[in-house]
């Protein structure tokens, strides 16, 4: 006798709205005439995102659920709602960036430089599939941190990743690089998800269930020393750490960020990172909540390695996007500090709220930075090489000023949101009062100082060097891009000066912690 599973549709509504819109998008691709598609996709995508966001708000207002929904498969709890809100905001602005045909290949199937491609360009073709693909990916991002069992998490991982693999290969310029990024991301992503899945299998073998809560309970009764558990957790960890780009699993990040179309990079650098951190937190805090020994030393090593690798390798980068990718790796390292800052419930809430705030501020600044990257162009596309940015402060002081501001936010200079983000996480780590974690914070600030070097280097180039005669042109931004840049700049300032309202939200979201 099988009872039909109960599904709390309202709780899952944001997810469903996005998936529904994505499906509609696919249908539009199939049935709408080519010239209409974009006109339908853009509002559809944006509206669905707004709708989902509204639903998230509504849920927050109506009260945060205290138990997992969908038979324990999905946990829509405080942190989830905050993460959802964050992802939806970041996705919304990223989609505004995606709304720029110049970025995407007119015909992905055409060989670069071939007659077909030329024809596609002259006909004004465009891959409007980008929108539904993005929606699928965003839906995956929402589900990933919300999944309360490992199977759902795996599915969410794939739902999130598969469209992104494709999207990475759709850059209009430098298509070879774009395709290479796509294939690399795909192969490595698939490889790492195989690890994730094998880890899931082993944990299933250990606990008899893939439910996070069940695993945690299994740990509560058994002593957590079992080969299956060890290897399973390691494998699972590989899958999750891969997604956030922690060393030594960071290798894909620079390549993919560099090759992918910049709006997609923005989406990945902001949304995916947030989602992956949500998932990582849930696995380590919920599933391993009852582990009777400390897994933090391992995370310590990973975090230290990640921030050092990110900061140091970024120093000698010459491609602006690649540099930002390494910066993202370094930031992942800083964020990992918060993951380790676990203690009693109050401490956990502190750490969680810090992480949530950091993720939000970092995401917004990142999207803003990539938005500006899309605007600085050479005849052959974006002016990717840093030397091309020389003297930009002279040619286009406002744009360069904003970019400098974003960079300073990355560096964590006070009066930018990045400062409070870092502060919130470091504070939770120091609050634990453990020397080893405080030591890691010290390492983190030293790495930040090294990281500041490459942010500052770009500022030096933009402002202190003289522009070359044939410097890049700064295109007049579309309303959408302007809006993105404006929003990001505003948020970066506002959260750097008056972070309290958002901190309140993050604290409220974190207070309940993850549902068990």
């Amino acid at each position: 006798m099988i009872t039909a599973p109960t599904i709390e549709y309202f709780q899952l509504a944001p997810l469903l709205v996005l998936l529904g819109a994505a499906v509609v998008g696919v249908l539009v691709e199939a049935f709408a005439p080519r010239y209409l598609r974009r006109a339908i996709h853009v509002p559809l995508t944006l509206l669905s995102l707004v709708g989902a966001f509204a639903l998230v708000i509504l849920q927050t207002i109506r009260g945060v659920p205290t138990s997992p929904s969908a038979m324990g498969a999905v946990a829509v709890d405080g942190p989830t709602l905050f993460i959802w809100g964050t992802i939806l905001v970041l996705s919304f602005v990223s989609v505004l960036l995606i709304n720029d045909e110049e970025q995407f290949v007119p015909s992905a199937a055409a060989v670069p430089g071939s007659a077909e491609e030329e024809k596609a360009i002259t006909e004004g073709n465009a891959h409007t599939e980008v929108y539904p693909l993005a929606l699928f990916a965003i839906a995956g991002m929402l589900l990933f941190p919300a999944s309360n069992d490992l199977l759902i998490m795996f599915v969410a991982l794939e739902v999130m990743s598969l469209p992104l693999y494709l999207l990475c290969g759709l850059a209009r310029r430098r298509r070879l690089l774009s395709q290479e990024a796509s294939v690399k991301y795909f192969l490595l992503g698939a490889f790492s998800s195989a690890f994730f899945l094998y880890g899931t299998a082993l944990l299933y073998g250990y606990a008899g269930s893939v439910d996070l809560h069940a695993i945690s309970q299994a740990l509560a009764v058994a002593n957590g020393t079992d080969t299956l558990l060890y290897i399973g957790m390691a494998m699972l960890g590989v899958g999750l750490l891969f997604k956030i780009g922690a060393a030594p699993f960071q290798a894909w990040k620079p390549d993919v960020y560099q090759g992918a179309p910049t709006p997609i990079t923005a989406l990945m650098a902001s949304g995916t990172l947030v989602a992956a951190f949500g998932a990582l937190l849930r696995v380590f805090w919920v599933a391993l909540g009852n582990l009777d020994w400390n897994w933090t030393p391992i995370m310590w090593g990973v975090a230290a390695l990640t921030m050092v690798v990110g900061s140091i390798l970024a120093i000698t980068q010459t491609d602006i996007k690649r540099m930002l990718a390494y910066s993202s790796i370094a930031h992942a390292g800083f964020l990992l500090i918060g993951v380790m800052a676990v203690g009693d419930a109050g401490q956990n809430a502190l750490a969680l709220s810090g992480l949530l705030f950091y993720l939000l501020t970092y995401g917004i600044t990142t999207v803003g930075a990539f938005a500006i990257v899309t605007l600085v162009r050479d005849p052959g596309g974006e002016a990717w090489h840093l030397s091309r940015w020389a003297g930009l402060g002279k040619r286009s002081p406002k744009l360069a000023g904003l970019f400098a501001f974003f960079l300073l936010a990355f560096a964590g200079i006070p009066l930018t949101s990045g400062f409070f983000g870092k502060y919130a996480v470091f504070r939770s780590a120091v609050a634990l009062g453990e020397a080893w974690l405080t030591g890691l914070v010290v390492l983190a600030v030293v790495a930040s100082a090294a990281a500041a070097f490459f942010y500052v280097r770009v500022i030096v180039l933009m402002f202190f060097s003289d522009p070359s005669a044939d410097g890049p042109t700064v295109v007049t931004p579309s309303w959408a891009t302007s809006a993105v840049v404006g929003f990001s700049a505003f948020a970066t300032v506002a959260l750097g000066v008056f972070p309290q309202p958002v901190l309140d939200l993050a604290e409220k979201a974190a207070k309940t912690l993850f549902v068990q």
Binding site: P414, F419, Y423, V441, V445
Partner: protein
């Protein structure tokens, strides 16, 4: 006393001024506006200072608002005597620097109004950093003020400006970030849910914790000050910065370091401060002698002045950590006097360099013959750099050494050799640039013009007046220093003979 939010008003005025200046279309109007705003701030600061009652509450003109309750952070500003004189220093220097920099920004073909807007932003932050009575707020200003200075050096500086700017920024940022960890830890250890300075005094009791936190703060301040051996950014930054920025950098920004030592290192971590004193005093003494010796060997005027400052900062830190009323008051006074003295030295050197287009001493010679006023101003500035009695710097240097001797005789004596070395570096530089037969390259040099005289005259007047009559400042500084030292729980060593009589 008028119950006005003086400090917020000053900060706000400079910020608003900066924004207005940034959006003005006409460079000339921008300059005039900047000058006007900075003069207005000066007037208001003086009006405020006059209302300060030296023997009243320690912190006056206090304003406290919650800023980020989650972090226990307040927007809390107030001044005691120490902060007041430093704010006064900033407020006096800015209009002078504005006037002195009238044409500086035009050389580099870069936005003139941005330069002046940055000056005003910097002024806001300088006032804020000294006025902050919330440790976190202090930190915010402490770090944020790097940025305008960074742009001023990097955009408007000399040939090596970007190297110097980056070095300055990274060095300071490194120290600042270490301090950030200490700030966070302080908050947690104190466990008061507040960053307000008065709440935190005496909050950290565990000796080991105190030491660590002290180190976190101290390294940042030592870099900022700068103390030997973390000083090498200063010569580069000061030599590359435009003269006006160099004045504010060395005259005010670096004071944040020594001010921080006095305010935070000593009062928040008294035991650790005492524990660290031997090392700090040793570093200071090394700094005094070393800075002076290296200054003697410089071939670049601005670098030379920068190294003299390193020597002088040695005196200041020595005075702060000697922890006697005389020495610490002297150190505070030194901060102010050094601002004026180095200020005028940098500015006159700037005028000189502007005329000849070279920073190298070897490119000058016999300037006194063709530009006697310039030479005279340079000499007076130099003499104040070597702490000639009768000029303000002497009072402070004397107090520092006198007070230090009471507790640490040998360092004071070694530090006093700086007096001899100072004579060598200043007079030798003066001799090489101003004396001797007039070099061909400077034969056509013009003497100080009207604007430049207005730049130099007030500073020289201040230096001389304060040299003979430092009492107004000392009356304000002394009670604050005494209160600080009470918090540190030290008492002045009694005179040997008087003790005998007492027995």
């Amino acid at each position: 006393m008028l119950e006005l939010p003086w400090l917020s008003f000053l900060i706000g005025l400079s910020v608003v001024g900066a924004i207005v200046v940034a959006f003005l279309k006409n460079d000339k109007v921008a300059k005039q506006t900047t000058l006007g705003v900075s003069l207005l701030i000066l007037v208001l600061t003086v009006v405020m200072a006059v209302q300060f009652s030296p023997n009243g509450d320690r912190f006056q003109f206090a304003e406290t608002y919650d800023w980020i309750p989650s972090f226990g952070v307040h927007y809390a500003v107030a001044v005691d005597g120490i902060a007041l004189v430093l704010i006064l220093l900033s407020a006096i220097l800015v209009p002078i620097v504005v006037l002195a920099s009238w044409h500086d920004a035009e050389q580099g073909k870069r936005s003139v109004r941005t330069y002046f807007a940055l000056l005003l932003v910097l002024e806001a932050m300088m006032i804020g950093v000294f006025a902050a009575t919330d440790v976190f707020l202090f930190y915010v200003f402490f770090e944020a003020m790097l940025i305008p200075m960074y742009f001023m050096i990097g955009s408007y500086g000399g040939a090596q400006r970007s190297y110097a700017a980056v070095k300055f920024l990274l060095y300071s940022l490194f120290g600042g970030l270490l301090m950030l960890v200490a700030v966070i830890a302080l908050y947690n250890v104190a466990d008061k849910n507040s960053f307000l300075f008065p709440d935190l005094i005496g909050a950290v009791t565990d000796p080991t914790t105190q030491k660590w936190l002290f180190l976190g703060f101290f390294i940042a301040f030592a870099i900022k000050a700068p103390l030997w051996p973390v000083h090498t950014w200063l010569p580069d930054a000061a030599a590359q910065a435009p003269a006006g920025a160099a004045v504010l950098l060395v005259g005010v920004l670096d004071k944040v370091g020594t001010y921080g030592m006095l305010r935070f290192c000593l009062e928040l971590f008294p035991d650790a401060a005492k524990w660290a004193t031997p090392v700090v005093i040793a570093l200071s003494v090394i700094g005094i002698v070393y800075g002076a010796i290296v200054a003697i060997g410089q071939t670049d005027i601005k670098r030379l002045v920068a190294y003299t400052s390193i020597s002088h900062f040695g005196f200041i830190t020595m005075g702060v950590f000697a922890m006697t009323t005389t020495a610490t008051s002297g150190a505070t006074l030194y901060m102010v006097n050094h601002g004026f003295s180095t200020g005028v030295l940098f500015l006159v050197a700037g005028f000189l360099i502007y005329r000849r287009g070279s920073q190298f001493i070897a490119d000058y010679g016999g300037v006194q013959k063709v530009a006697p006023l310039l030479a005279g101003a340079f000499l007076i500035a130099g003499l104040s750099g070597l702490s000639l009695p009768g000029l303000s710097t002497f009072v402070s240097e004397f107090m520092v050494l006198l007070g230090t001797y009471q507790r640490y005789a040998v360092p004071a004596i070694i530090g006093t050799t700086g007096v001899i070395l100072a004579a060598i570096y200043i007079l030798w530089m003066y001799q090489r640039t101003m004396n001797g037969p007039t070099a061909e390259s400077v034969a056509e040099m013009k003497d100080l013009n009207g604007r430049e005289r207005w730049v130099v005259a007030p500073l020289i007047a201040l230096i001389v007046v304060l040299g003979f009559f430092p009492k107004p400042l000392l009356d304000v500084i002394n009670p604050a220093v005494k209160e600080s030292l009470v918090n540190v729980k030290v008492t002045d060593p009694a005179p040997v003979v008087a003790v005998k009589e007492g027995q």
